[in-house]
């Protein structure tokens, strides 16, 4: 064979092998993994490598456990704060060095890393996703290893408890409350909403505030089960029975809640974000095209940042025929099953969600503390957020059985059709009931 050809071939092959292998070994935190990290994460890397380098060369480098904490990016202030906390953890623990990875397209990335058998050591888990992860045996229950578990609000503990087992601690939470535009209430000559409002008060105010000729509505509502469900609970209804064996969306309470929610839109007192030139309700509220919105505390920094001129306040959601209810959305720090460094990972989780860590994390007034013992000091600092925090007492967790995404999709799409008059509320509930029954029987 031609010698030159052979050399060329070998070179090509070697080149490809090198290129192929270079992308592979990203399970160990090496600089090669950098392209996938956000700026914040890259900064972490620089920070974390420092202490290691300063230690006496020799024994240390082999014994130091490297941890990865993976999450999604939120506001700059929160990202920076979390990084500071990780830095503090690293300086307090010479044998463990944690690294923060804030990644885009989080769900996909987490799922593939779990399936690939090399998950991060600690990662965010949304309460809605938890049942799927538990069903897949993907996460370790660390409830017994947590500090002062009873201090967490019971509702939030429930969000991460399945079949009596607490899987992971809530890192923070959000609840739904009613945001209202003070100027628009003043202009309409209405009293501001109060915490003891009822559905009728809400509906009457929405009617009075609507000026559809000028494209202004009393309220902005989206075709979203995550909002409608608050009315379902307020009506005294539920999605499933207590032990989650059968669906209960065929109840008169569900019908009442659905009629009320859809009725607000059908009667023209509320509009969807898209009809108000907005991507989500918060934007429509900020543009002052709707006098009331029903969002979580994430709307506050958004409004302060994007619409600083809006004169608004927050009040707890009105009570329905079945009493007060709201939704809580919460995320926990999970540790994977078969974790490489289980104890060190739990130590990091305890550091972040212990009383001190929780205080440091929630001190910005953006995330709310999940520990009841921090309530008073936190409220002293952020009194205007009290309606959100109060929700912790009577909120329902945003969590169902594995596979409930199908039910969620069915309700969302049904609400959308009902808003447009393409279907009836009875039909929406019937479909959701059927799909839910199918999911529960899988």
């Amino acid at each position: 064979m031609n010698k030159r050809l052979l050399t060329l071939w070998v070179l090509l092959l070697v080149g490809i092998l090198i290129a192929a292998c270079g992308g592979g070994g990203s399970t160990t935190p090496e600089p090669t993994a950098a392209p996938e990290m956000t700026e914040a994460a890259t900064a972490v890397e620089e920070a974390t490598t420092e202490p290691v380098a300063t230690e006496p060369a020799g024994e240390a480098s082999g014994d130091v456990i490297q941890l990865q904490l993976m999450g999604w990016a939120s506001s700059d202030a929160e990202n920076t704060r979390l990084q500071e906390m990780i830095d503090n953890f690293n300086s307090a623990n010479s044998d463990v060095q944690a690294q923060l990875l804030l990644v885009p397209d989080y769900d996909t990335k987490l799922q593939t890393s779990l399936a690939g058998g090399a998950p991060p050591d600690v990662f965010y888990i949304d309460s809605f996703k938890l049942p799927d992860f538990v069903a897949a045996n993907a996460i370790a229950p660390i409830g017994d290893e947590l500090e002062n578990v009873d201090d967490f609000y019971p509702n939030l503990r429930d969000a991460f408890t399945l079949d009596g087992t607490l899987y992971c601690p809530p890192k923070d939470f959000s609840t739904l409350a009613l945001e209202y535009n003070k100027d628009m209430f003043d202009a309409a000559g209405l009293d501001y909403p109060t915490a003891d409002w009822t559905w009728d008060d809400l509906r009457n105010a929405a009617e009075a505030l609507t000026d559809s000729d000028n494209g202004v509505y009393g309220m902005v509502l989206s075709a979203d089960m995550a909002r409608w469900i608050a009315f379902l609970y307020q009506a005294g209804g539920t999605v499933t029975n207590a032990d989650s064996t059968s669906m209960t969306l065929d109840s008169p309470e569900a019908k009442e809640a659905m009629d009320f929610y859809v009725g607000l839109v059908q009667d023209g007192y509320a509009a969807q974000p898209a009809d108000l030139d907005s991507g989500w309700p918060g934007e429509a509220f900020g543009k002052q095209k709707a006098a009331m919105a029903m969002e979580g505390n994430w709307i506050i920094p958004f409004l302060q940042d994007q619409f600083p001129d809006v004169n608004f306040d927050v009040v707890e959601l009105p009570a329905g025929p079945g009493g007060k209810a709201t939704m809580s959305f919460t995320v926990c720090y999970g540790v994977p099953a078969n974790a490489a460094h289980h104890d060190a990972s739990v130590r990091l989780v305890n550091f972040l969600t212990g009383s001190e860590g929780m205080k440091a994390w929630t001190d910005l007034g953006l995330a709310m503390p999940t520990r009841a013992s921090l309530r008073d000091t936190w409220l002293e600092k952020f009194p205007n957020l009290e309606p959100f925090l109060n929700g912790a007492e009577y909120s329902h967790p945003w969590q169902f059985q594995p596979g409930f995404q199908d039910v969620l999709d069915t309700v969302n799409s049904g609400l959308q059709e009902a808003f447009t008059g393409l279907t009836t509320t009875d039909q929406v509930l019937q479909n959701a009931q059927e799909v839910g029954t199918e999911v529960l029987n899988r």
Binding site: M1, N2, L5, L6, W9, L12, L13, I16, A20, D107, T108, Q111, L114, A115, G116, G117, D132, F133, A135, A136, N137, A138, A223, Q272, P273, A274, D275, L276, D277, G279, P402, G403, Q405, D406, D409, T410, N412, S413, G414, Q416, E417, T420, L422, T423, V435, E438, V439
Partner: protein
């Protein structure tokens, strides 16, 4: 080496060299294409949830396919809703993009046209722009007070009622039927009560929703550039003497186009329509950015359903089965299309 026995020495050496040079490509192709395809076929026959390691998945034979195709339930309904949406998408986009890109190619091929290269570049531009960027831009255009509504309002002297395009689940055929008083309330029972594959007949004949139509228009706009370039290359391949001969025989411009250009473009036409069919049946990115399958699942396409099942519903096995079905659908359509266009047109 015994790879090429029975061939003369020099040829054999060339053959060996050829294979050697192809080795890298074959390796890359295997790792990134062939192995994933085999894996997808395998996973489509498992109950893999996409979270646990794939080795833990149980082999369940054709159960996923049965669930999708024959078992009444939300998974069957979702698949056939997606099939319906995607088919409306293809039926709208493929003819539109083929006709418009052919017209554009003919226009920019005119020797008399000035600023020819300017127009060629302009028409091609959307094809090389990131589809995510274009999708975000169109989201603004399709807002209730957005550009599209404003233009339509101006053109109709204010008669056009602004709509929020991307939030409108009404089907175009349903809207047309409603002008004749036929709505879901007045439609005969056999339309609303009878279901085919979990989707009521009334929904099958919905037509593309307003939201899907918006995406169809955008998709046409972004793809005609590429199709135009292909047509342009083919047009310039048609020898001039054919036209000259026709002109001497007194053929008009129209009959030259109909009797010379179109027949000569037939292989290209097959190619463009095939590309169009494959592209439309696989549409994903614009859906992901603009609508996430909403409003009311009217922009749920097959490719997007694959993603939803794999990453939102923890049913990777089911998603893989849908992906395989999508492949079969595209393959069948291409074969049918090839039959219609004529086998001599095969590229």
């Amino acid at each position: 080496m015994t790879v090429a026995t029975g061939i003369r020495g020099e040829d054999r050496q060339n053959a060996v060299a050829g294979w050697l040079f192809m080795t890298p490509t074959i390796l890359i192709f295997s790792v990134f294409v062939i192995i994933p395809i085999i894996a997808a076929v395998y996973f489509s026959m498992t109950d893999w949830n996409g979270i646990s390691p794939p080795a833990e998945a149980t082999f369940i034979g054709l159960d996923n396919y049965k669930t999708i195709l024959t078992q009444p339930g939300i998974r069957q309904t979702d698949f056939f809703t997606a099939l319906k949406n995607t088919t409306y998408f293809a039926l709208g986009v493929v003819p539109m993009q083929t006709i418009i890109s052919l017209l554009l190619a003919v226009v920019v091929n005119q020797s008399l046209l000035r600023f020819k290269s300017f127009f060629r570049t302009t028409y091609y531009f959307p094809s090389i722009t990131s589809s995510v960027a274009i999708s975000l831009m169109f989201l603004f255009f399709y807002q209730k007070s957005g550009l599209v509504n404003q233009i339509l309002s101006t053109l109709t002297f204010g008669a056009w009622e602004p709509i929020a395009w991307m939030a409108d689940p009404r089907g175009l055929i349903h809207i047309a039927l409603s002008w004749f008083g036929l709505t879901i309330q007045t439609a005969p029972d056999f339309l609303t009560q009878t279901s085919l594959f979990g989707v009521p007949l009334w929904s099958w004949i919905s037509g593309p929703s307003v939201a899907l139509t918006g995406i169809m228009i955008m998709n046409t706009w972004t793809t005609i550039g590429t199709m135009m370039i292909i047509f342009l290359a083919a047009l310039q391949d048609i020898p001039n003497f054919v036209y000259e001969a026709a002109q001497i025989d007194g053929a008009s411009a129209w009959s030259q186009f109909r009797r010379i250009t179109l027949p000569m473009l037939r292989p290209t036409m097959f190619f463009v329509v095939t590309l169009g069919l494959i592209g439309t049946y696989q549409v994903f990115d614009q859906i992901y950015v603009m609508s996430s399958g909403g409003p009311a699942k009217t922009t749920l396409t097959i490719a997007y359903l694959v993603y939803r099942n794999g990453f939102n519903n923890s049913q990777m096995g089911l998603g893989a089965a849908i992906a395989i079905l999508l492949f079969i659908i595209i393959f069948a359509l291409t074969m049918i299309q090839r039959r219609i266009t004529g086998s001599e047109a095969a590229v």
